[in-house]
């Protein structure tokens, strides 16, 4: 058995499946330059009423993961393997028609840029009603009533008239609200929000995050929130998955992850942030180097070329890919450093500087 691939962690056959359960997801794209290992062995699960935050740099595979769940990257040149279970139904092996029936009704997605995610030629109302009518056999009139109700719910002022407006007549925050309304039209059980607030101002971001929280309470949906902003993660999520080079490197409850992070990459992210709640530092401490190429992923731990503690974990870090291993209940870390050593480094070297 080779140790360079995922180690021996076959999930127990009788394991209870979560509401959304992603197991060992692998997504490879075949390009002219080579195979892009966009996602390479990712597992996580989300329960109804909970929010999972996925955080990582651009190119870490966050968005590809969400597109795979939605069945939006099934084209030629893509190889997907692993399992995605949504309420007991497996999605990777499901047919395109089956996925299409689920998409929009049971699972919905909010995209980053609402201007490009909406069609400029159709009114907001027409686009939302269309999404609703695809999954519900109702008249146009009923769909319109429902649309107005939804726009009102997400806080669009005077929805009766704004329903006939076109996307360009809405401001960025309102477009994002309209997109949330569209995503919610069929009461999805799973909502994937891919950087829903990145294009928005902080004031509007606060409104949108509040709205998502309220809606989650109301509909008890599971939310996967993808972002690169640790502030948003701290504010809006219950569990966090930190991704690096297509893999999860740390996974745990949000409080635990911020109070006692154990992966050097998570430390790096926390250290490089400018944050308002701490004293201003003279100098920022960025993660050295740049994100790895996904065509030539570094051997062993993909973070090792940028890791300041690489020498302590060598040579294992350069040869063997670490698995996510539980350190404390519910908190998993993929790192070759000894858990006690990691905790010591965080306590003595990293934490004081945060």
């Amino acid at each position: 058995m080779s140790l360079t691939k995922d180690g021996p962690t076959p999930p127990p056959a009788t394991a209870r499946r979560g509401f959304l359960d992603v197991r060992d997801l692998v997504v490879h794209f075949f390009t002219d330059d080579g195979v892009v290992n966009a996602v390479d062995g990712l597992s996580f699960s989300v329960e109804p009423g909970r929010t999972l935050g996925i955080v990582g740099e651009s190119g870490s595979g966050k968005s590809v993961t969400s597109l795979s769940i939605m069945g939006l990257n099934r084209g030629r040149g893509t190889k997907i393997s692993g399992e995605i279970w949504l309420e007991g139904q497996e999605l990777i092996s499901a047919s395109t028609e089956e996925i299409r029936a689920l998409r929009g009704s049971k699972m919905a997605m909010i995209f980053q840029d609402p201007l490009s995610a909406m069609h400029p030629f159709f009114s907001i109302g027409a686009q939302i009603s269309e999404a609703y009518r695809v999954h519900n056999d109702v008249s146009k009139k009923a769909a319109r009533v429902r649309t107005i109700e939804l726009l009102d719910r997400v806080g669009i002022p005077s929805p009766n008239t704004r329903v006939d407006d076109y996307p360009h007549q809405f401001s960025g925050g309102m477009r994002q609200r309209a997109m949330i309304a569209m995503a919610l039209s069929c009461d999805p059980r799973l909502l994937i929000a891919d950087e829903p607030t990145t294009a928005l101002d902080v004031t509007v971001q606060a409104q949108i995050l509040d709205l998502l929280r309220d809606l989650q309470k109301e509909f008890n949906s599971a939310i996967v929130l993808i972002t690169h902003d640790l502030g948003v993660i701290a504010e809006a999520t219950d569990e966090v998955l930190v991704m690096y080079a297509g893999r999860g490197v740390e996974y745990g409850p949000v409080k635990e992850l911020f109070a006692a992070p154990e992966h050097p990459y998570t430390w790096g992210l926390l250290q490089s942030m400018t944050r308002l709640d701490r004293k201003d530092q003279d100098r920022l401490r960025p993660v050295l180097g740049s994100p790895p190429s996904l065509i030539h992923v570094p051997s062993g731990c993909p973070f090792h070329p940028r890791c300041p503690y690489d020498a302590q974990a060598a040579p294992a870090s350069r040869e063997i890919r670490p698995n996510l291993i539980e350190t404390t209940p519910g908190h998993q870390v993929a790192c070759h450093l000894e858990p006690a050593e990691r905790q010591r480094i965080f306590r003595e070297e990293v934490s004081p500087g945060l």
């Binding site: 651009s58 401001s171 971001q205 640790l230 701290a234 809006a236 911020f258 926390l270 308002l276 960025p286």
Partner: protein
């Protein structure tokens, strides 16, 4: 600045110690009542002017040499337009801009050209601000050619020095922009801005498009080159924590106006304007425990249209403290403490972070 530790005989009597009346020597840039209105026209042949977008509507500030002024505000508040007018990429509608002791408001294109080397810009999007058909050498040396700047050891050597200064390798000279990552491209943009040895750099959201870890690298770089070359920055961004880190003074803009200016520590620790309060309270803090306890001011609605800004105080439509007076009387930008100016009828100190 040196302190007043010089022999007593040498100093002029009764000189204010810290906020010394800034002489024109100290000031690199003085902007007075600057306005930029974009006309809105109707009709095809005869274009009637039916209104104006008041992107920048009367702002006044000054900038000392070596200082960094941060400008924050929501999108559409006119911060980018302000940057472009100050660097004369756009012509102001009214007001004056004095740069380095000289009024540059009305200078013609031709008269402006030699000054361009003193004012440079760094743009937000590292993908669209570099010409994809030119190699790095050509991009970075463009200011040198355009300005006929003599280089000691030839242009190529100078470009390679600049590349090294911004943390790229001199071998990158012949590569093209698409071969670089976002952070590296932003470094190329910075090298280009530094090529002509400018005095003032207007950086318009220079790190917004970058990942946090790379953001920190670029911010450190900007600080390093500032220290090394004695640059003055106008740093425009919407990220309040980044602005806090890099700025000496911070101006908060709302609908084309400055509503609060103060030095960095004061603005973040004792903000007075309700809009500043709202902005600061909206920034999420990466600490779930603290996040739950923080006071949160939620603003409702969006920024009103700059086509037809609200009467009186422009913020009154979204302000929870607004009284009758705010709807009619526009509050002037008043100095509340030395170096701290606020435009509000009911300023109040509040701790939010």
């Amino acid at each position: 600045m040196t302190t007043n530790a010089t022999p007593a005989g040498k100093t002029t009597p009764a000189e204010a110690p810290k906020p010394s009346p800034a002489t024109s020597e100290d000031l690199l840039l003085e902007v007075t009542d600057l306005k930029k209105h974009f006309p809105v026209t109707q009709g095809i042949v005869y274009q009637r002017k039916v209104g104006a977008v008041r992107a920048v509507d009367g702002i006044t500030f000054s900038l000392r040499r070596g200082e960094t002024l941060g400008v924050v505000g929501e999108s559409g508040c006119g911060k980018s337009t302000m940057g472009r007018v100050v660097s004369r990429l756009l012509d102001p509608t009214s007001g004056t801009i004095r740069f380095d002791g000289r009024d540059i408001t009305k200078l013609s294109q031709r008269a402006m050209r030699p000054l361009r080397k003193d004012i440079q810009m760094i743009f937000q999007d590292p993908f669209s601000s570099l010409n994809p058909r030119k190699n790095v050498g050509a991009i970075v040396s463009a200011p040198l050619h355009l300005q006929d700047i003599a280089t000691e050891h030839g242009t190529k050597r100078r470009v390679q020095e600049l590349l090294e200064l911004v943390g790229l390798s001199p071998e990158h000279y012949n590569r093209y922009p698409h071969e670089f990552s976002g952070g590296q491209r932003q470094r190329i943009g910075i090298a280009r801005a530094l090529a002509s040895r400018p005095k003032l750099i207007v950086a318009d959201e220079p790190v917004s498009a970058l990942d946090v870890s790379i953001q920190a690298q670029v911010i450190n770089l900007l600080e390093d080159v500032q220290a090394e070359l004695g640059l003055t920055y106008i740093f425009i961004a919407h990220d309040l924590s980044v602005v806090r880190h890099i700025s000496d003074r911070v101006a908060v803009m709302y609908l084309g106006r400055i509503v609060e200016v103060a030095d960095q520590v004061r603005l973040y620790e004792q903000p007075m304007h309700p809009y500043t309060h709202a902005l600061l309270s909206a920034v999420p803090v990466p600490d779930p425990v603290k996040e739950g306890k923080r006071e949160r001011i939620l603003l409702y609605g969006d920024v009103p249209s700059p086509l037809n800004p609200p009467s009186g105080c422009r913020f009154h439509t979204r302000c929870w403290k607004a009284k009758e007076m705010c709807k009619t009387v526009e509050p002037p930008l008043l100095t509340i403490q030395p170096g701290h100016q606020v435009a509000c009828h009911f300023p109040e100190e509040r701790t939010l972070i």
